[in-house]
C-alpha cells in the first residue's frame, strides 16, 4: 500500500531526517509509528501524502508517486496533522464544502461519530475547544472512508472518555482493505489498537514488526530482582519491581508493553536489531 524505497530526506544540509530508508506498509493493519521528538514521525507521514518529497529514493502510496499529490491519490487518503486548520463556520457548512471531494464520504456515519463524541452537529467550529475540534476532524476523516488514514497524535488533547470512544471507533472501522497509521507518544492510549509497530530512531527504522511476532521473540515481565540472565535486553525499575525485556527463548506468552519496548529499543538498538534481523 505504501512503499518507501531508499528514501533520504533533509530539511537543510545539516539536518538530515532520513537516510536510505526502506519501508513497506500493507492494508489490514493499524500501524503505530513511534519515535522520540524530532525522529521524523510527522515528516514520514507528510511524505506518504506528498507534502514532503524525498531528496532521493521514492515514496509510492496506493501505487502512485506521493509527491505528485494526484487527486486520484489524495481522495483515497486522509491526513490529520497534530495542528490542523478549521475555518470559522458551522459543522454542516464545513462538511458541505469539504465532503464532496471524497467520493465515499458517508454523512450518516459522520453524524454517528459526532453523536458518540457528544458534539452537537449544529455547533460553530470556533465555539469548540481544541479537543472537540479534533474530534470533529477525526470523525470527518474516518467518515471519508478513504483507504488510508494518517493520524498524527490523534489522542493528544482528547479527554479520558473521548480516548475510549476513539478506540471504539477505530476498532469498528479497521478492516482488511484499510491501512491506518497513527503516530503517537501516548502509547498507553492506543496499546490495544496497534497491531504493527514502526519505531524510528536516528534517521532510520529500528523496528518494523507485527505485534504477534514481537511477542514471539521478546518476553515482557515484571520481576523483583534482576539477575545476570543472558536473555535480558533491557530493564527499568518501577513500583512493582523491575520491568524487564528479554529474549523469548522458552516461547512464553506475555503482553507487549510498548513503553518498555520503546525504551529498550532506544537504549539497546543493536540487540534488538540483531534479534529481529536473524530471520
Amino acid at each position: 500500500m505504501i512503499t518507501l524505497n531508499n528514501v533520504s530526506f533533509a530539511y537543510s544540509k545539516k539536518k538530515e531526517v532520513f537516510s536510505n530508508l526502506n519501508l513497506t506498509l500493507q492494508p489490514g493493519s493499524i500501524y503505530g509509528l513511534l519515535g522520540k521528538n524530532g525522529a521524523g514521525k510527522t515528516t514520514l507521514l507528510k511524505m506518504m501524502c506528498g507534502l514532503a518529497t524525498p531528496s532521493s529514493g521514492s515514496c509510492t502510496t496506493l501505487g502512485e508517486k506521493a509527491a505528485r499529490k494526484n487527486p486520484s491519490l489524495m481522495r483515497e487518503l486522509f491526513f490529520l496533522p497534530e495542528e490542523f486548520y478549521m475555518p470559522d463556520m458551522r459543522i454542516k457548512k464545513f462538511v458541505s464544502l469539504n465532503a464532496p471531494f471524497y467520493p465515499e464520504f458517508d454523512l450518516n456515519q459522520f453524524h454517528r461519530y459526532l453523536d458518540e463524541f457528544e458534539i452537537n452537529p449544529d455547533s460553530r467550529l470556533r465555539s469548540l475547544s481544541y479537543g472537540e475540534k479534533k474530534k470533529v476532524m477525526i470523525g470527518f476523516g474516518i467518515a471519508t472512508n478513504t483507504k488510508l488514514l494518517l493520524f498524527d497524535e490523534p489522542t493528544n488533547g482528547l479527554d479520558i472518555p473521548s480516548k475510549r470512544q476513539f478506540r471504539r471507533i477505530m476498532a469498528s472501522i479497521a478492516n482488511e482493505d484499510k491501512c491506518i497509521i497513527i503516530s503517537t507518544h501516548q502509547v498507553r492510549d492506543l496499546e490495544t489498537l496497534i497491531d504493527h509497530l514502526v519505531i524510528l530512531h536516528n534517521n532510520h527504522i529500528l523496528l518494523n514488526e507485527n505485534v504477534g511476532v514481537i511477542t514471539q521473540k521478546l518476553c515482557f515481565k515484571t520481576v523483583q530482582t534482576v539477575g545476570n540472565d543472558q536473555g535480558i535486553i533491557y530493564s527499568e525499575s518501577s513500583l512493582k519491581g523491575h520491568n524487564i525485556l528479554l529474549k523469548n527463548a522458552e516461547q512464553e506468552d506475555s503482553q507487549l508493553d510498548m513503553e518498555l519496548l520503546f525504551n529498550g529499543v532506544q537504549q539497546c538498538p543493536e540487540k534488538i536489531n540483531h534479534l529481529f534481523n536473524l530471520n
Partner: protein, 257 residues
C-alpha cells in the same frame, strides 16, 4: 481518472473558496465602490458659485487607484487561504489538481477582479454624475479623457505586480511579503535601469567608447536603432505576467510543507 483537470473538482473548489471568503470579497467590492465615489468627488469642482458644464471623470486616476484597491483585497483573500502552515496543509491535501488550484486562483485574481472593478465604475460614475446634476440643477456632459492606452498599461502593470506577489508568497517561506516587495523593487531596477544600462554600455557599445562616457538617454532619443532596442527591453516586463503564472504552477506542484 483525470488527474490534470476536472471541471467538477474545479467547480467544487471555486464553490468552497467562494463560500469561505464571500464576506471579504463582497466587503472589498463595497470599499471599492466607495473609493470610486471618492475619486469622482475629488475630480470635480463642487463650488456652488460656478456653473459647470462638464462632469469630470479622470479615467486613469480612477482606474489605476481602484485597480490597486482591488488587487490588495483579492490578494488578501488569497493570503487568507494559505497564510499559515496548517492552512497550507489543508489546501494541499485537498483532492484537487495543481491546475485546478491555479485556475481557481486565476479566476478570482483576474476575471472576477476585472469584472468587479468594471462593475464598481459602472455603478459609481452614473450615480455620482446624476448626483452632481441634481446638486447644480443642470445637465452636464460626462467628460472623460480617452486614455485607453494608459488604462491598458495600468491593467498590465497591476496584473504583473499581482502575479509577482503571488509567486513571492509561494516562494518565500518566512517574511514572504517583505521579501516579495524587495524582490519586486530589484526586478524593477533590473528591467528599467540596469538592463538598458548594461545593454547600451556593454553589449552595444557602438558609441559608448567615443568620448569615454556614454549618454544613454540621448542615444535612445537620437538613434533609431537605440530606440528599437530600448522599446524591446521595455516590452520584456509585459511578458513577466505569463512567466509568473507559469512559474507559480510549478511552485505549487512541487510545494513542500
Amino acid at each position: 481518472m483525470n488527474n490534470i483537470f476536472s471541471a467538477k473538482r474545479f467547480a467544487l473548489l471555486v464553490r468552497k473558496q467562494w463560500l469561505e471568503n464571500y464576506l471579504l470579497l463582497i466587503g472589498s467590492f463595497i470599499v471599492l465602490v466607495a473609493f470610486d465615489f471618492f475619486v469622482l468627488y475629488q475630480n470635480n469642482d463642487w463650488d456652488a458659485n460656478r456653473k459647470p458644464s462638464y462632469f469630470h471623470f479622470n479615467i486613469s486616476a480612477a482606474y489605476i487607484l481602484s485597480l490597486g484597491v482591488c488587487s490588495v483585497f483579492i490578494l488578501l483573500t488569497y493570503f487568507r487561504i494559505i497564510n499559515t502552515h496548517t492552512k497550507q496543509i489543508a489546501y494541499y491535501t485537498q483532492p484537487t489538481s495543481t491546475l485546478e488550484k491555479l485556475a481557481a486562483i486565476f479566476l478570482f485574481m483576474v476575471p472576477v477582479m476585472l469584472i468587479a472593478f468594471g462593475a464598481a465604475l459602472s455603478i459609481s460614475v452614473p450615480v455620482m454624475h446624476s448626483a452632481y446634476d441634481s446638486f447644480y440643477h443642470t445637465t452636464t456632459t460626462l467628460f472623460a479623457k480617452d486614455e485607453a492606452a494608459t488604462m491598458k498599461d495600468a491593467i498590465l502593470v497591476f496584473l504583473t505586480l499581482q502575479a509577482l506577489i503571488l509567486l513571492g508568497m509561494h516562494t518565500f517561506k518566512r517574511y514572504a511579503i517583505v521579501k516579495t516587495f524587495i524582490a519586486i523593487i530589484i526586478l524593477f531596477f533590473l528591467f528599467f535601469y540596469a538592463l538598458p544600462g548594461v545593454t547600451f554600455n556593454w553589449i552595444l557599445p557602438i558609441e559608448g567608447f567615443r568620448n569615454g562616457s556614454f549618454d544613454t538617454i540621448s542615444y535612445m532619443r537620437n538613434h533609431e536603432y537605440g530606440q528599437m532596442v530600448y522599446k524591446g527591453i521595455l516590452y520584456l516586463p509585459s511578458y513577466l505576467v505569463y512567466v509568473c503564472w507559469f512559474a507559480l504552477y510549478f511552485k505549487m506542484k512541487e510545494k513542500q510543507l
